[in-house]
Symmetry: C2
Subunit: 270 residues, 2 copies
């Protein structure tokens, strides 16, 4: 047992990242990470509250949950905090009409949003949709606005698929920021508002919650800056250098979700 | 006549940007900017030395010059300082084998370069070649290197074609820098080494030279930081806000190359 296991005392709620923690995406939908299906089942049988906090923006919540259920995970749509629905709330509140640079798989989340005569841009992980033509169109929309507003659904650098590391939305957001001389508003991790909405949905205070993720910046640092604890798993996009990150230190590092759940069930209620 | 015309006294050599100063690119090769063909001819008939200093990285120097000659410009290949040949010299000096994320139009410049088993990446204005797949491949090459080295042929934000503003290489360089946590080495404007090589080819000292360009950062600020004077033309990618840039002030602003040449011929030898 890791000596830092004692730092888990008093945890009442667990926020779980999905990609790289539950499964690795890829051709044919991806594959569960070994032990994660069973670990989630054990966690959900415990006293701990569980919620999923993801930056997944290629799929609608419905499609994501359907895929995970087919892989064997016990998860329902209402348990997932995801950036596309959060962005829709913001767009409605502020009366904004977006030009959407997004994956077709998540387009249905924006069905109720007016996209005519756009006055902002929403960028998400568009994958192959990040063609030069599509990037240039988003750039031109922004350059024509007097006050260009860009929303980025997460700002991850890359993620891991079964075939290797893949560019996430963050690099493309940086590209538009540089091209237009602006700064994007991030909707998703590591935005504090996003973590707070997940905590609120779980009805748990930050100091009683722990984030489990594979991203040292988006998951670990983001959660810690909200007053939560955070574990990094050595799966997904984890790289050994993460354990010597110059600015971020997780409350603990575990080999995978199964080890995280073992430790939580052993220490959380102490 | 602009009052600042007196600042042109003592100029002996003129460095000319190409895109946005001589012509605007676009479908069918683009079009000369009104008055530029004749202005260049007058400049070359004068006592002033002239050299072209471009970040063009979609075309080989030969193709660029051929296109400009067809548009009526008096220009030859030996008069052009361009980033691809400069990059080839650096690659050879340092024994580097690049993965090339470049436009097919400039590939011939790298004919003599070993690209097997790459140990660095060269990114240039690839245009439509900036597909997700090509960006991801360059990213993966960099992530597999122990000391990732990225050369960027220029770092422009965008340029103007006859159809509108187009993303240049800079945003895509920023994307790879962010994805990999590295900083690119710029070959081209505004790198001081690049301006210095153009001055050396022209055999003129920095304080006797003036840069004429449409880019307030890449052309004007870059040249000034080398000890040169710099004029910005109100053609190409120029935007009115450039004249109130928070950090950069050109030695003068002119409507186009024709006005710049008028003023130079009037004041340079005073």
């Amino acid at each position: 047992m890791a000596a830092w296991g004692e730092r888990l005392a008093g945890v009442r709620g667990v926020l779980l990242d999905i990609s790289g923690v539950l499964y690795d995406g890829g051709e044919g939908g991806g594959a569960p990470i070994v032990g994660s299906v069973e670990a989630l089942a054990r966690l959900k049988r415990s006293q701990l509250k569980v919620r999923f906090c993801t930056n997944e923006s290629q799929k609608s919540r419905g499609d994501l949950v359907g895929m995970l259920r087919r892989l064997g995970f016990d998860i329902s749509e209402g348990e997932v905090t995801a950036p596309a629905p959060a962005a829709c709330l913001i767009l409605k509140e502020r009366g904004l009409r977006p030009h959407l640079l997004i994956h077709d798989g998540v387009r249905s989340e924006f069905d109720q949003i007016d996209t005519s005569n756009p006055n902002c841009v929403v960028i998400a992980d568009a994958g192959e949709g990040f063609s030069y033509q599509n990037m240039n169109k988003a750039f031109q929309v922004l350059m024509e606005l007097e006050n260009p507003v860009l929303f980025s659904l997460g700002k991850g650098r890359y993620y891991k698929e079964t075939s290797g590391l893949m560019l996430d939305v963050g690099p493309y957001t940086k590209a538009l920021e540089y091209a237009c001389g602006i700064e994007a508003e991030v909707v998703g991790k590591p935005s504090p508002e996003f973590f707070k909405s997940a905590l609120w949905e779980m009805r748990v205070e930050a100091h009683q919650a722990i984030m489990i993720g594979d991203d040292i910046v988006g998951d670990v640092s983001g959660a810690q800056r909200c007053g939560m604890r955070a574990l990094q798993v050595r799966t997904g996009k984890f790289r050994p250098s993460d354990e010597h990150h110059p600015e971020v230190k997780a409350d603990g590092y575990v080999d995978n979700l199964a080890e995280a759940v073992d430790l939580l069930l052993q220490h959380a209620d102490k």
